[in-house]
Every structure is written in structure tokens, then in C-alpha cells.
Symmetry: C2
Subunit: 344 residues, 2 copies
DNA sequence: GTGAAAGCGCTAACAC
DNA sequence: GTGTTAGCGCTTTCAC
């Protein structure tokens, strides 16, 4: 197989024209009224010699690469990894390849990636956008590319998006903590104005206020090292001994927060220290106590995203109404949020 | 930017020929003795209008896609994720794109991926091969593609590879446990004949034998669910109360093994139960006790791999001698391997 | 039903 | 030093 076989070789071997072979290969045999006999003969031969059309030539000619660009915040985060896997699987079944990358929530990197994807001629874009890429997205859309936003939205960008009900997620997590008897619940989040983070904060705040409790909010920086974040959380928690529970706004903050809690020996010192994380994570069942979490429906998210994308890709009409799909979260209660014993 | 600008547009605008523009764009201005003045003028214009050559056309013409296919066992495993990231970063700086995929250590999937990469016309292949792909790799190599194997080798495949000294890794981990006073050390690994797994087993066995101890080996199945694996490990450990330490052959076995150990309450029941994992993992500093691990030099691995690949890609000579690079591991001692107290 | 031929956008051998 | 032109391998219009 050193020597690449071409469509012209097929045609020559079979004594038919290139056109005929191409039509058959592209499933247009019926449409072009090519005899079943010939169709079968060509297909059989193609199969035998293992001919595969050159994708580059095909793409250059048709303008389609059958490739979808997928940009998530961080592919090493189990939440995004899981979504990416599911999307890839579905896409693959439909004959699409997925190229994925992590934005690291960095505006410049994301812009570069978008530009790289354009250069690669991807047919569609699935993105968890960081802040500051509004104009880039609008450009993509106005240039006619299918764009589906995941996990978060950008105000003013008119395109499809699939998100979860962040507000209810943190609202119910906070309510759960309150019901379990915790009174001083901290919310540890990141310094981000992204829609999903804002909504998570709102859900927490609402639940706290409804119960006439006080909010305790810490915003750590996204772009800082793990150890810095741990330190930051540890000093916050260390200074406020009155805090008896904490809700982490993402799983990676929680993982680092747990490290801080370990360092402070918070749980062993106060056996009734409550912990909840937004986003589930494998390690939450590994550590003791196991950690209560707000699970996001990764499968549903992935399925909806790819459905919408495939639809956009196949439909001629440019003008599908942009719609936002909001999926529910689910609180998984584990041992980190026990009923708080009242100490006299 | 709705309308794509072409190289012919540039030529027309500037009143020069397409060739000239192409030469300048490809850095052959000097070589073709094009005036500095013209070169500068073209470059300036190209910059201004934001012209980017169509990669598809370029690739079709040159036969090069400036893309490297990277297939790791499991991109969600921190070890592979970290290597992939580092490779991607370096490759990107050299003007190469990386397409990555997980083989899941599945022969058929890997073959499909290799075929997909061929279809995509990647310029080179970086692979952590599962069993059973020997012929596919040989084919790739004999067809002239640069192939670099990582983490494991395949006997009889004559190509470059970067691996670590697995034997010494488990040997020193086992020796460490013995030195700490453990007498019944189990080795929990997977049912794989891959080079790296075989070597890890050998290192363990050697250390055990040198000390006239008994081996306790459990092979779990790679392709089974997490809970099945946990169950499997738990029943093994539960049945053999004499085991006082365990060395896990990979980080994901260790993570599941820890779950099993938790279920059995092994560490709290026997405070001197020793645990070591081959491969480090973030959670090993999160759980209590923190887990001693054999760390692999991911950075060095990634750097060597990409160095070799770039070299292969740039050098004309097909006949670079295939060589295997063996990197050392490092034992990170944490609290899961305390000096064993002798109980009278 | 089938074939000839015009590109898709670029590179580079060859001519001048 | 610069321009003409023949492809890279495929799809698809148009003619027969």
C-alpha cells in the first residue's frame, strides 16, 4: 500500500468514467440512475483495493471537512472530559471528527484557538467561552458557522446554547446545608463574571437570605497555582472559626479546598463541618468523609449539544432560531453533610 | 471577512505574480533573490489584509499537514494528560498541530484511530500502543511515517521509543516497603503483557525474592468497571489478612484499590498497612494517609518524544537509527509507608 | 446513464 | 528576479 490508489485508477481498472465512480462513492448512484449492477461492481472493487478518497482533496473541493472544533475550559477536568468523550462518540458515529482543545479560560488562547480552527476549516464550533470573546463569536456566527455554546452563555451572542440550572443547583445545595442545621455557610468561588458562576452565586445568596443567615463569600483567582489557592482558602477558613459549612462553586475549587480543610484539620476538629461541591468528581467518594455534590447531567448536556450541532450542520436554513436549553442538576447527598448535632 | 482573500488577489493588488507572493510567503525570498523592498511590501500587505493561505490547498499540494497524531491510552489519566499537554505545547511552538485520542488500550479502536489519522494525513504518529497493533505499526513505519512509541515498546517494531525504567521503579518501591518493615507485600496489577507492565512485575518480584519473602500477586482486568475492580481488589485483600502492604501497578488501580482499602477499613484497622502506587496522582496528597508513589518524569518524557518527532519530521534521511530512551523514575515517600511498628 | 473538463487554492518546476 | 503553468485528487456541471 505504498502507492496510493486514486479514483482515476478505479475508473481505469473498471473501464468506467471517474464521474461514475465518484457518483457511486457519494451515494448518488440512484439519483444519477446508474445501474445497480455497475454500482455493485464499483463498490466491490473499491472495497477490495481498500480505496479511500483523499480527504484533503475532498475538503478542498467541497469546502467541508467533516470536522467539529470543540473547545472546553479544561479537558483534564472530569466534567469537561466526560462531555467531550460523549460528544466525540456521537459525532464519530455521524461521520464527524472532533478536534478538541482547552481554553484554560484564557481569552487570548481562545481567540488563537478559534483562529486555528478556522484555518483548519472546521465545519462547526462547540465552545465553553471564557470572558472577552464575544466579538469573536459574533464574527463566527455572522460568517455563517454553526456555533453551540456549552456550560455558559454570553449575553448578546445570538446562538444556541446548552447550560444547566446553576441557580437551582446552588440554591438547593445551600438549602440542604441549612436543613441539616448549618448556620454559617461559606461560598467559595472564583473571580469570574461568567454566567454560570454568577448564577451559582445568586442561588447561594438567595437561599442564605431567605433563611436570614449571613453570607460568607470568598473569591479565589482562577489563574493561580493550586498551592496558592489552597493557601488562600486555608487562611480564609482559618480566620473565620464561625463557619460551619462550605459550598465550593466548582469541583477543582473543592479539591483544593479539601486540601485546605485537611491542613486545618477542620473536619476532625469539628466533626460537624459540612462540605458540598458544585460539580461531582471521582475523588469525592474516595476521601473520608465522602463529599456531597451537585451533579451536572453530563450525558444530557453532551447529547443535546451534538444533536443541535448535527442539526445545524445538516440543515440548509441558516435561520434556525437560537435557543437556550437549560438542564436540571441533581444533588447527591454523601457523608460530608451530616445532620448537625446541636452542642449545648 | 466574509469573502476569503486568495493569494491571487494579493498578487493582483500588488501587481506581482502569484509565484513571487508564494515564494515570499514561504520564506524563499532570499533564495529566489527577490528584492528586499518587494518582500517587505508584500509581507506588509499580507499582514494588513490578514491573508492566510488555505491549509487544505497547501496540504493537498505539499502532502504535508503539519499535524501530528497523538494516541495515548487514556487522556483523562493525569499521567497521559500531562504528557499530552506538554507535547502539544512544544509542537505548537514549532508550527505543528496535535490531534489527540485515547486508545483505551483497545486494539480495534487503536487500529481505527491509526486509519483515521492516515485519512487525515497526519505527518507523524506518537503512540502508546496496546497489544496487537504490531503489524499496523510496522506498516506505518514501512510506509515511511515517523512513529514514536511512548511509555511502552513492542518487541519487533523497529522505531524510536521513550519509556521509563519500570523495573527499577517497582524494585525500589518494593525495597522501600521492605526496608520499612513490611513482610507481606502484595502487587496488584492488570492482565496485560505490555512491556511496561511486565517490567513492573519483574521489579517487584526481584525485590521480594532477594529478601526471601513471598510474592502476592493479583491481576485485575483492565476492561472492567471501576466498581468491579474495587470489588475484585477488596475480596483479594479481605481474604488475605496476612498482607501488610500493597504496591499498585498504576495510578488508576491505586485509586480503585484505595476505595477497596477504605471499604475494608484496612488502614484504620491496621495502622501499619503500607500503600505505594506506581504513577503519581493528584489525589494521593488529598487522601489521608497521603500515598507514597513512584513518579514518572512526565516533562522529560514529553520533551524527548517531541524532540525525536520533530527531528524525524525535519530530517530527510529516512534511516535514523531507531533508539530507545529509558528515563528514571523517582520514589516520592509520603505517609502511607510509615516504618512498621513491630507488634510483640 | 456516462464522460470531459473546469475548478477548489496553492506550490514549484521551468521558462524568460 | 519574475511570470506561466501544470498539477495535488476530488466533485459536479454540462453535454451527449
Amino acid at each position: 500500500m505504498k502507492k496510493k490508489i486514486l479514483i482515476s485508477d478505479i475508473a481505469k481498472q473498471l473501464n468506467v468514467s471517474i464521474t461514475t465512480v465518484s457518483f457511486i462513492l457519494n451515494g448518488k448512484a440512484k439519483e444519477k440512475r446508474i445501474s445497480d449492477e455497475l454500482t455493485a461492481r464499483v463498490l466491490k472493487f473499491v472495497e477490495e483495493v481498500g480505496f479511500k478518497p483523499n480527504q484533503l482533496a475532498q475538503s478542498l473541493r467541497t469546502g467541508k471537512t467533516k470536522t467539529i472544533g470543540l473547545m472546553v475550559e479544561d479537558i483534564s477536568n472530569p466534567f469537561f472530559a466526560s462531555i467531550a468523550r460523549l460528544i466525540e462518540e456521537r459525532a464519530y458515529k455521524e461521520g464527524y471528527k472532533i478536534i478538541y482543545c482547552s481554553t484554560e479560560d484564557d481569552t487570548a488562547k481562545t481567540q488563537e484557538l478559534i483562529s486555528m480552527f478556522r484555518d483548519m476549516h472546521v465545519d462547526g464550533y462547540i465552545i465553553t467561552p471564557p470572558e472577552g470573546v464575544k466579538e469573536d463569536l459574533k464574527k463566527l456566527i455572522s460568517d455563517g458557522f454553526p456555533v453551540v455554546l456549552v456550560d455558559r452563555q454570553i449575553r448578546g451572542v445570538d446562538t444556541h446554547s446548552v447550560v444547566v440550572d446553576n441557580y437551582s443547583g446552588t440554591y438547593s445545595a445551600t438549602s440542604h446545608l441549612i436543613r441539616q442545621g448549618y448556620k454559617n455557610i461559606a461560598f467559595i468561588t472564583i473571580d469570574s463574571k461568567q454566567s454560570q458562576m454568577v448564577q451559582r452565586l445568586e442561588g447561594y445568596t438567595k437561599a442564605i437570605e431567605e433563611n436570614q443567615l449571613n453570607t460568607n463569600i470568598l473569591e479565589v483567582l482562577y489563574h493561580q497555582s493550586a498551592s496558592q489557592m489552597i493557601q488562600h482558602i486555608a487562611s480564609f477558613l482559618g480566620e473565620r472559626k464561625e463557619i460551619d459549612a462550605v459550598l465550593f462553586a466548582t469541583n477543582y475549587i473543592a479539591v483544593r479546598g479539601l486540601e485546605a480543610i485537611n491542613q486545618l484539620d477542620l473536619i476532625s476538629l469539628a466533626p460537624n463541618f459540612g462540605v458540598v461541591s458544585y460539580d461531582d468528581h471521582d475523588v469525592f467518594t474516595l476521601v473520608r468523609p465522602t463529599i456531597t455534590a451537585v451533579a451536572q447531567p453530563t450525558e444530557a448536556i453532551a447529547n443535546h449539544v451534538i444533536d443541535i450541532m448535527l442539526n445545524l450542520l445538516n440543515i440548509r436554513t441558516k435561520s434556525t432560531q437560537a435557543e437556550t436549553l437549560v438542564l436540571p442538576t441533581r444533588l447527591i447527598t454523601r457523608s460530608s453533610t451530616p445532620l448537625k448535632k446541636v452542642v449545648q
